[in-house]
């Protein structure tokens, strides 16, 4: 197991390095130029040339790449061209916002989705299953941004129950430095997390219902019942545990979303997270931020896969690698 883990970690590092290299080269070769003036403002070529020199963009790409790797080895992600500050500072502000939003959305997605899926499977083809099946299909068909706009319109503009944008009230709580301001953050989190979480939960519920039903017909379930095991034990110990394998795989795939964020939802709710940071950086050809975002995202994808594999091995002993392997 340890040797397998070491091999997987080494491969993961190689994958991350490859992604960073590819991103670095592609973003430098892509058409478009950094240091643009604001929209509808003429550029001064002398200023642009000066800035290119100050940020070493006038050097060949291989030279820039080697310098970048040197910086990276020292833990320095560079300076953002557009934000005029260290990339690490920008990430340090965006990452927690994205973690909060995506974490809450994933929690809602998996807990609600899992519960609904199990509930439906236990009442298969009965009225609750039919109603929930149609409801989840209906919600799952929504484009996420559209649901976001509807929630903003109804709960933000019309009813004014929840704020329509931002991570907090800048008048009362520009920072989450008191209990009241933490509650204010949760209040602001409600609509964007619901938007992302509800659509996800609808998908998870359908997925989990199918997995539960597939397992329900297996011999070991019949055996457990024949042995006189109580229904609760059959469902939780035998049916749900086996149906969780595909759920764990899904969780592993969803893990990178924790940091890459949801661009459209972050835009609709003016949520300053990684998705918006990366998209703005791409549009403005802010190379250091784009490369750092790719570094983070690829690390998360690799970690997510690793985590899923480990969890699968824990959940299903058959998948554990023999000691001699």
């Amino acid at each position: 197991m340890a040797a397998w883990l070491v091999r997987r970690v080494a491969a993961s590092i190689a994958i991350v390095l490859a992604v960073v290299t590819l991103t670095f080269v592609l973003v430098h070769l892509a058409p478009g130029t950094p240091f643009l003036p604001p929209p509808e403002t003429p550029a001064d070529p002398a200023v642009t040339a000066r800035l290119r020199a100050q940020f070493h963009l006038d050097e060949p790409i291989p030279v820039q790449y080697i310098a970048y790797l040197g910086q990276l080895a020292r833990g320095n992600l560079g300076l953002s061209f557009a934000l005029r500050r260290p990339v690490a500072d920008a990430l340090a502000e965006a990452v927690p916002n994205t973690l909060l939003l995506a974490g809450a959305a994933l929690l809602l997605d998996f807990l609600l989705g899992l519960a609904l899926g199990v509930y439906q499977a236990l009442r298969v083809h009965r009225l609750p299953d039919i109603i929930l099946g149609n409801a989840t299909l209906f919600i799952y068909s929504f484009p996420t941004f559209w649901l976001g706009l509807i929630l903003v319109l109804v709960f933000g503009e019309w009813l004014r129950w929840f704020p329509v944008a931002g991570v907090g009230d800048p008048v009362l709580c520009p920072a989450a430095d008191s209990l009241r301001c933490v509650i204010d953050r949760l209040w602001h989190l409600t609509l964007p997390a619901l938007t992302l979480g509800l659509v996800g939960a609808a998908g998870t519920a359908r997925f989990q219902r199918a997995a539960m039903l597939e397992v329900a017909g297996q011999d070991y379930i019949r055996t457990a019942r024949a042995k006189g095991a109580r229904e609760r034990r059959v469902v939780l110990r035998h049916q749900l545990r086996n149906a969780l394998l595909s759920f764990i795989t899904r969780f592993g795939l969803a893990f990178p979303f924790l940091l890459t964020g949801a661009v459209l939802i972050e835009t609709i709710f003016a949520w300053p997270g990684m998705g918006r940071l990366a998209t703005d950086a791409i549009l403005r050809r802010d190379y250091p931020v784009v490369t750092a975002a790719a570094l983070l995202a690829s690390t998360l994808v690799v970690l997510g896969n690793l985590l899923a594999d480990v969890l699968l091995a824990v959940a299903d002993p058959r998948l554990r690698v023999p000691a001699h392997a």
């Binding site: 058409p31 931002g166 009362l172 949760l186 835009t267 003016a270």
Partner: protein, 554 residues
């Protein structure tokens, strides 16, 4: 299961109720008030010489002072329409020397006095190539700025011209030398000062939460008068529609530019908001590349012909396009100009909308539909071209589609290439386009825009179309140099613009009106068209109109 869902819902309602109960503080009277600006842009850095962002200017207007500022007329000729700011007065010492007397009451927010040495230091910084200031070019005709004594700054110009005073005061916000002298000039673009600035204006910096908000607090000792509104907060949003949603939902108090008729309608329906129209500072046009796509040494096979350009211009019904896109929220510009400029004059000579004449000219130049496919051709070449459009501009994308249709009716094919702004800028700069839909925002002076975009000196810079007319260049030189009265300058500019209109290097399509939205509780509102929030320090919220957020103490 349903019980758990009900409990979750109730918990959400409880959180909403608790969080929505604002805690009114004790502030009452004439000096309370919190204004929340919703801003579709965020400053990159709050150090005026190194940033061209509109939001940097808006916020910088509150933190840093100029020596003097432009008046409501936005007249840039002479000095009579300018108002004192940091300089309590000024006088001319000969034709090219201007002497400013710094107000002795002026103080930096750290308590240090503002001196003439700060003024000299500021000019030196703006003019230092290491700072890479985008405003350096605007100061090219200022020879030097020196401190005669602690309260007297002397500005010397290289030559005499009508906008000397404008150049001396408009572009520079005076900086604290004692705080910036130690910062290497080539590091100003990322200086820590720019994220925690110390200024001399009516508001002092409090905090900046990147991507979220920025707060300023009124300086109660401000020497030109205590601002009546106590707190200014900028909430940053990704775009105008989201900003409008925040206004409508009551989460913001002011937005400088609503843009489209849809946004204006949404805000008009919100009872708590008032709309303030002002002269817009931008204009847009379809520009023709006069040289070959990708080769600036050869004339363009279609647009190199002046008569063809004139015919294409006459084929476009600009008034109808304008109504389709902007409703009544814009005007057809009489040339390359925004409504902000004092030379704006609808009577300037322009080519008429006349499709019959356009078709006749095209046919007389050999462009006929010989193969009856609906598109004119000549010697095997179709009258077809590509137009570059930035994918982020909804207005210009709409215009592209409407133009495509209008050109089709006279047998001209226009293909639309939507590209990212950075690609648009790169291709325009390299001359790799046939035609492009440009939009420009201008400062109050016609000089810089008309020189950079349309004269020969703009080659390699912003004269992307490579428009070249010696008569125009001479007229511009006369309008921007020498000694002219305002009326003489106006006449000269008019002739210059008519020269461009006659040559038709572009079809001038729209000059939007500005419409700002501000909460109705705010009184004495004055929106300056060139810098919307420049006069916020004179606005007030009467005590009987205060709402909860005005009273909040933190």
């Amino acid at each position: 299961m349903l019980g758990a869902m009900r409990a979750t819902f109730l918990l959400l309602i409880a959180v909403a109720t608790l969080a929505s109960c604002e805690r009114p503080g004790g502030c009452t009277g004439a000096y309370c008030g919190t204004l929340v600006f919703v801003s579709p842009g965020e400053p990159d850095i709050l150090l005026p010489p190194v940033s061209q962002q509109v939001s940097t200017r808006d916020i910088g207007d509150q933190i840093f002072l100029k020596l003097a500022d432009i008046g409501p007329s936005t007249n840039t000729i002479g000095d009579e329409d300018f108002q004192p700011q940091l300089a309590e007065r000024w006088e001319w010492d000969g034709p090219t020397t201007l002497v400013f007397h710094v107000d002795p009451r002026a103080r930096w927010h750290d308590g240090q006095p503002v001196t003439a040495a700060d003024v000299a230091f500021t000019f030196d910084a703006y003019n230092d190539p290491a700072v890479a200031s985008p405003f350096r070019n605007a100061l090219r005709r200022v020879a030097s700025v020196t401190a005669r004594d602690s309260a007297t700054a002397v500005v010397r110009f290289r030559e005499r011209y009508p906008e000397m005073f404008f150049d001396a005061v408009y572009h520079m916000r005076i900086l604290p030398a004692h705080l910036l002298r130690g910062v290497p000039r080539d590091q100003w673009k990322t200086a820590a000062f720019g994220r925690q600035p110390v200024g001399d204006g009516p508001y002092r910096f409090v905090s900046w939460h990147a991507g979220q908000s920025l707060e300023l607090q009124a300086d109660s000792t401000f020497f030109l008068g205590r601002p009546a509104i106590r707190r200014l907060i900028w909430r940053f949003t990704p775009n105008v529609p989201v900003a409008v949603t925040q206004l409508v939902a009551g989460e913001g108090d002011a937005l400088e530019y609503l843009g489209t008729p849809d946004n204006v309608s949404r805000v008009r329906a919100a009872q708590q908001m008032t709309l303030y129209p002002y002269r817009g500072s931008s204009y847009g046009y379809l520009g023709f590349n006069l040289t070959v796509n990708g080769d600036t040494t050869q004339p363009h096979p279609i647009f190199g012909d002046r008569q063809v350009r004139r015919a294409l211009t006459m084929a476009v019904d600009r008034a109808r396009l304008l109504t389709s896109v902007f409703g009544d929220l814009a005007k057809v510009p009489p040339g390359p100009m925004s409504q902000l400029w004092w030379i704006w004059d609808p009577e300037i000579r322009q080519l008429p909308f006349d499709t019959v004449q356009a078709a006749r000219v095209l046919a007389s130049h050999g462009w006929r539909d010989s193969d009856h496919d609906g598109i004119r051709d000549r010697a095997g070449q179709r009258l077809s071209f590509h137009v570059l459009v930035p994918s982020t501009s909804g207005v210009r994308k709409q215009y592209a589609r409407l133009l495509q249709e209008q050109f089709r009716t006279v047998g001209v094919q226009m293909e639309i290439d939507e590209v990212e702004p950075s690609v648009f800028q790169e291709r325009a700069g390299a001359g790799r386009f046939d035609a492009a839909l440009f939009g420009w925002t201008t400062d109050p002076s016609p000089s810089s825009g008309l020189v950079q975009l349309w004269s020969r000196s703009g080659f390699g810079g912003s004269n992307f179309l490579r428009y070249d007319n010696a008569t125009y260049d001479q007229l511009v030189e006369r309008a921007t140099g020498g000694v002219l009265t305002r009326e003489q300058a106006r006449t000269t500019w008019r002739r210059a613009i008519e020269t461009i209109n006659d040559d038709a290097p572009a079809i001038f399509l729209f000059a939007p009106d500005g419409v700002a939205a501000i909460h109705s509780r705010v009184a004495d509102v004055n929106v300056r068209p060139d810098s919307w929030w420049a006069l916020v320090r004179t606005w007030r919220i009467p005590p009987d109109r205060l709402i909860d957020r005005d009273r909040v103490e933190r």
